[in-house]
């Protein structure tokens, strides 16, 4: 009954407007970005329809009393618009809200770092922003999956839900060195980054010594990190010889996983080996 009354009043008002030569404007309150929509005008004569927002502006000539149709893909940017009809005797305006489309079409994936040591707790971070086909940020919550797949071994999976279009994750680097694939996925949209995981610091240093003429030939065992990965060639290993209060030091880069050096074979000398903060074994040379 109430609806009928409102309808009668509305009809009467529209008729009154038309009699006065004025125009009216009927349109949806909210549409999805890129969707087709109609704007119904009333009145007579010619007019111009403007749809004005900070991120998009449309203009269309209209015949008052006709429906102005906007095809899909015309109004694509999410936001709040003012729809203005000019012509006739007055200017009418309404508000039109354009919401992002429902489906994800693009991901901005920020991942860091691109290179890090193995076995680092929360060492890898990723953040995504999820956009629709028109590059509108999708504000409604969306499920996101993050996967870090090492060259060998099990992948790490995490799930997150976007808040205002953003989601994030932190992951440990894997125990095995190599190129890991870090993938973010929303719906059918994926984005991939490569994360290089390199061996960490040496875990244990063990050297041996043997005489070679007047010299001692010192050589480490293959140097590995605590996960068993070979420490990269070029890592510096320091050999130190103490003899009667004198100290001599030699820095040697790893070659093929081992460090090798010759030092004077002093009877009673003490020789130590170290790399970074890791101290290896000690040899007391006596003959």
């Amino acid at each position: 009954m109430r609806l009928r009354f409102a309808s009668l009043v509305g009809g009467a008002m529209l008729a009154a407007l038309q009699l006065a030569g004025a125009q009216g404007l009927t349109l949806p309150e909210t549409i999805q970005a890129g969707a087709a929509f109609d704007v119904q005008t009333s009145g007579s004569g010619n007019g111009t329809l403007y749809i004005v927002g900070p991120s998009q502006v449309l203009q269309q000539k209209v015949t008052l009393g006709q429906t102005a149709s906007f095809d899909s893909g015309t109004l694509t940017n999410a936001g709040i618009y003012t729809v203005i009809l000019t012509g006739g005797t007055s200017t009418e305006h309404r508000t039109l809200n354009v919401l992002p489309a429902k489906d994800a079409a693009h991901i901005t994936f920020l991942a860091r770092p691109s290179r890090l040591p193995v076995n680092l707790h929360n060492g890898i971070s990723g953040a995504v922003y999820v956009f629709d086909a028109y590059h509108n940020l999708i504000i409604k919550p969306m499920p996101v999956s993050f996967d870090l797949t090492p060259p060998s071994g099990a992948a790490q999976h995490r799930k997150a839900t976007t808040v205002d279009g953003a989601a994030w994750v932190q992951l440990n680097s894997t125990p095995k060195e190599g190129m890991g694939k870090f993938v973010a996925q929303v719906g059918g949209v994926t984005s991939q980054r490569i994360v290089e995981q390199v061996p960490g610091a040496p875990c244990r240093l063990q050297m041996s010594a043997k005489r070679s003429g007047q010299q001692l030939e010192l050589q480490t065992e293959p140097v590995r990190d605590c996960s068993g990965n070979a420490v990269p060639d070029g890592t510096i290993v320091t050999f130190t010889e103490d003899y009667k209060g004198m100290q001599s030091t030699v820095d040697v880069p790893l070659k093929r996983g081992i460090a090798k050096v010759e030092m004077p074979a002093h009877n009673g000398a003490t020789i130590t080996v170290a790399s970074g903060v890791v101290l290896g074994n000690e040899i007391h040379w006596t003959e």
């Binding site: 909210t30 403007y50 004005v52 927002g53 900070p54 991120s55 998009q56 502006v57 449309l58 203009q59 940017n77 999410a78 936001g79 709040i80 003012t82 203005i84 000019t86 200017t91 305006h93 508000t95 809200n97 919401l99 992002p100 920020l110 991942a111 860091r112 929360n122 971070s125 990723g126 953040a127 922003y129 590059h135 509108n136 940020l137 504000i139 808040v163 205002d164 279009g165 953003a166 994030w168 932190q170």
Partner: protein, 173 residues
């Protein structure tokens, strides 16, 4: 002290102080600006200086956007916008020129809160509940004045000297 985690009494105090100080500090027109303490859902705390710089740059971006849309000069966007936000605003200005219109945005109030600081520090997201009037002019004549309340979602990324707006998207409050 860092702005991080959930609201605490000290942070409320900070919000009040910022609300009082902000119109002077950021040189906003006559609009009132309220800044809530950050409530970030990421793992990275945000330093006071970073938060203040992002909010200051965001408010300055509004000034730039208003001038650009009023004067139909896309070049005014260069300092404060990039990416999609800049492309969309530039296209809107171009369409305004073709249609013979320009638009004045009078922002009456801002209520800003930083909600996300990405773990690697490469983006900040904030929301701003804005009350504004949109005035559309055709050939210098005022067509309409439309008051609006919008919740703006903003993503900013750092450039060499300032935070720039990459996403500026309104939705109904």
């Amino acid at each position: 002290m860092k702005f991080t985690g959930r609201s605490k009494p000290l942070k409320y105090l900070m919000a009040v102080l910022l609300a009082i100080a902000t119109p002077l500090a950021f040189g906003a027109d006559q609009s009132s600006v309220q800044i809530k303490p950050p409530d970030v859902h990421g793992p990275r705390p945000i330093a006071d200086q970073t938060a203040e710089a992002a909010v200051r740059d965001y408010l300055e971006s509004w000034q730039a956007m208003k001038s650009a849309l009023d004067q139909n000069r896309a070049s005014l966007l260069n300092r404060d916008f990039e990416g999609e936000a800049k492309d969309k605003l530039t296209a809107a200005i171009s369409s305004q020129m073709k249609a013979g219109i320009h638009t004045k945005y009078e922002d009456r109030s801002h209520n800003i809160q930083i909600v996300f600081y990405s773990p690697e520090g490469l983006s900040i997201q904030l929301v701003d509940n804005v009350e504004y009037d949109q005035q559309v002019f055709q050939n210098g004549k005022l067509l309409v004045t439309q008051p609006a309340r919008a919740r703006y979602v903003v993503v900013m990324t750092p450039s060499q000297v300032r935070w720039r707006v990459r996403v500026l998207q309104a939705q109904p409050e």
